[in-house]
């Protein structure tokens, strides 16, 4: 059946509005970033005026975005890897091991999802400035202060727990009879079977850590250690920097997330679907 002309026009208009709402802001960010004409704070360009890539250069070198990018990279790479390792091990214990208080442990982990980070910001600060035992120093103002708090994340622990529960028990028993110990069962049987889920928590973890704002703000007091979200906010409050440079810096900050998502997109969607079906 052919749709009538007015209906098609109406559809077109609706789609155009939706497109405008979603793509519009991004478009103007890109246009502003490549505009050679300085804009006042609060202004954004809709069309490029004397296009140039100088803004990126200024942001990257003069505003030292490279340094913040590096900091973010360090935190996100170590943080994500540590997070996935810890989550996988915790999930294995929760999914497969019988131990006293397993339900309580599970509930405690779950409860951390219910606490907004604003609530734990001050306790977190107090912990990081304390001389910690064993290492006998405080981790305040170090990469560790930004990495350690994100290593345990209830979301990825629960996601992996559910996937591990779905791995048939007989496989683990077969491996044990074949002579495998806990680590070998984990490495040879469980991990290879939950690879899609690992990919998913990897991406979620990456984005979660990349977007951390409050945590670095609270535990870092050194411009050289600031991550991109914190640095961008302080750039914005500096009146001498034009919006062109700030949005150029923002684009640089967005790039890694977009690249990671695009690279692992297939994985990401499949992982989500699998989780949804298994419920």
């Amino acid at each position: 059946m052919k749709t009538s002309l007015p209906l098609r026009v109406a559809k077109f208009v609706v789609y155009a509005i939706i497109l405008l709402i979603f793509v519009g802001p991004f478009w103007s960010i890109v246009m502003t970033a490549i505009s050679g004409v300085s804009l006042k704070p609060g202004q954004l360009a809709l069309l490029p005026q004397s296009p140039t890539f100088d803004n990126f250069k200024v942001a990257f070198l003069d505003m030292r975005v490279w340094r913040y990018l590096l900091n973010s990279m360090v935190v996100v790479s170590f943080g994500t890897i540590a997070q996935v390792v810890v989550s996988a091990l915790a999930a294995y214990a929760l999914a497969r091991k019988k131990f006293r208080g397993a339900a309580i442990v599970s509930l405690l982990i779950l409860s951390t999802l219910m606490l907004p980070e604003e609530v734990i910001a001050i306790p977190l600060y107090l912990v990081t400035i304390k001389q910690l035992p064993v290492i006998d120093t405080s981790i305040y103002n170090t990469y560790f202060a930004m990495i350690l708090p994100v290593v345990g994340w209830a979301f990825s622990i629960f996601m992996l727990t559910e996937f591990m529960r779905a791995v048939p028990k007989e496989l683990e028993e077969a491996a044990r009879i074949d002579g495998a110990n806990d680590w070998q069962v984990f490495g040879h049987v469980i991990l290879p079977l939950i690879r899609p889920a690992l990919g998913t928590v990897l991406i979620f973890g990456f984005i979660m850590i990349w977007d951390q704002y409050l945590l670095p703000l609270v535990v870092i007091n050194d411009r050289d250690l600031e991550t991109l979200p914190v640095a961008l906010a302080s750039l914005r409050s500096d009146p001498s920097i034009t919006p062109n440079i700030i949005v150029a810096a923002t684009l640089i900050a967005m790039a890694p997330s977009v690249i990671v998502y695009l690279l692992l997109q297939k994985h990401f969607n499949r992982g989500l679907m699998a989780g949804a079906v298994k419920g």
Partner: protein
């Protein structure tokens, strides 16, 4: 190779007793079948031998070694699971060599063993495939191969044929039997299928509610069941059970509802009016159309023929009665018949305890008479 010994083994899950004081001796090289209805604890017992469950009390021995507290990997056993439990991400070759690789055996030894076993089971062409690319029967063989390459002291099978179709099942049944004949490795096999148990087992252990009901060879269980449960569980079509009372000073068995008195089988010395259960296997009943003495009157309800076997289902005053025969039947439904008992094939059980009443051995007056 090694014997398996269970001594007073108990297992309970959260206060619920699943295995109750079970003691079984499985000799070296023996093929032992654990059989019982679902919930009888047969799989739990196998898992206790495997070390996948810990016994609540009692002792498990494999090859004269106390393994009660040893983990599965130190018990020198191999197990074939009902679901086969092949590692999905590994090729057939990797599945079969997994145990050897974990044990860090030399590469050339692993390759040689895999090739030998693959050849024996006809798996050479499948070695590089993944389990998902195999049919049910092929997966089953890979699971067997994985167990065989280990050359363990004991093989454990947990209903390995239940996922196969009937034709493949009888073929694999034969394969397992042949392998056992060749390797003579002690094997413990769990099944709920009594045909499998009868055709494969050298020794059968019948379990009910976590307890051993009877241990014996297939024919011992068939001919001399210890109790009504074993008599009814073993044999297809099932044994006929009817209530009877001893009469005429212990000389007859009276089937009261049918007003029939059967002569007392030889060897039984029972008092008058004792209530018993009379068991008779379907093949020891014969349907005749004319009146005969000491026969149970009945009406044919249905005739089922598989070609080689015929089962006639009759309704009688003592309940439904099955007759099995190798010959074709010309009986028709609603036909009146008399059921004749083959002499000496009756099995009597005490009505209250449901245990078999053991007849005295046939009298042999002297050795000279036998000669």
């Amino acid at each position: 190779m090694g014997a398996v010994k269970l001594q007073n083994v108990c297992k309970s899950f959260g206060g619920h007793d699943v295995i109750k004081d079970v003691s079984i001796d499985i000799n070296e090289g023996e093929f032992c079948v654990l059989i019982g209805p679902s919930g009888s604890g047969k799989s739990t017992l196998l898992r206790l031998i495997a070390g996948l469950e810990e016994a609540t009390s009692g002792r498990v021995e494999i090859a004269d070694r106390d393994v009660t507290d040893l983990p599965a990997k130190e018990r020198d056993i191999a197990m074939v699971f009902q679901s086969y439990a092949l590692y999905p991400q590994m090729s057939v070759r990797d599945n079969m060599s997994f145990a050897l690789r974990l044990a860090r055996r030399p590469k050339d030894e692993i390759a040689r063993k895999i090739d030998d076993v693959a050849q024996m089971l006809g798996l050479e062409a499948l070695l590089d495939r993944l389990p998902k690319e195999l049919s049910g029967g092929q997966r089953q063989r890979v699971a067997m191969g994985r167990a065989i390459v280990r050359n363990p002291a004991v093989f454990l099978f947990d209903e390995p044929l239940s996922n196969l179709d009937a034709k493949l099942r009888s073929q694999v049944r034969g394969d397992i039997r042949d392998l056992h004949r060749k390797w003579q490795t002690t094997s413990v096999y769990v099944t709920h299928d009594q045909v499998e148990a009868m055709t494969m087992g050298e020794k059968i252990v019948v379990l009910r509610d976590g307890q051993v009901e009877q241990v014996g060879t297939p024919l011992e269980l068939y001919d001399q069941p210890d109790c009504v449960f074993v008599a009814s569980f073993i044999g297809s079509p099932a044994i006929n059970m009817m209530q009877a009372r001893v009469g005429a000073g212990g000389k007859t068995l009276v089937l009261a509802e049918a007003e029939v008195a059967l002569p007392m089988p030889a060897g039984y010395d029972l008092r008058d009016d004792q209530d018993v259960l009379l068991g008779i296997r379907p093949e020891y009943l014969e349907a005749v159309t004319g009146h005969v003495d000491h026969a149970l009157p009945a009406t044919v309800h249905a005739v089922e023929s598989t070609g080689s076997d015929t089962t006639v289902i009759c309704n009688s005053p003592v309940g439904q009665v099955l007759i099995a025969s190798k010959s074709r039947s010309d009986l028709a439904p609603q036909q009146k018949v008399f059921l004749r008992f083959t002499e000496g094939k009756e099995i009597l059980f005490d009505k209250t305890t449901e245990r078999r009443i053991v007849p005295a051995p046939r009298p042999v007056s002297s050795l000279a008479d036998v000669r």
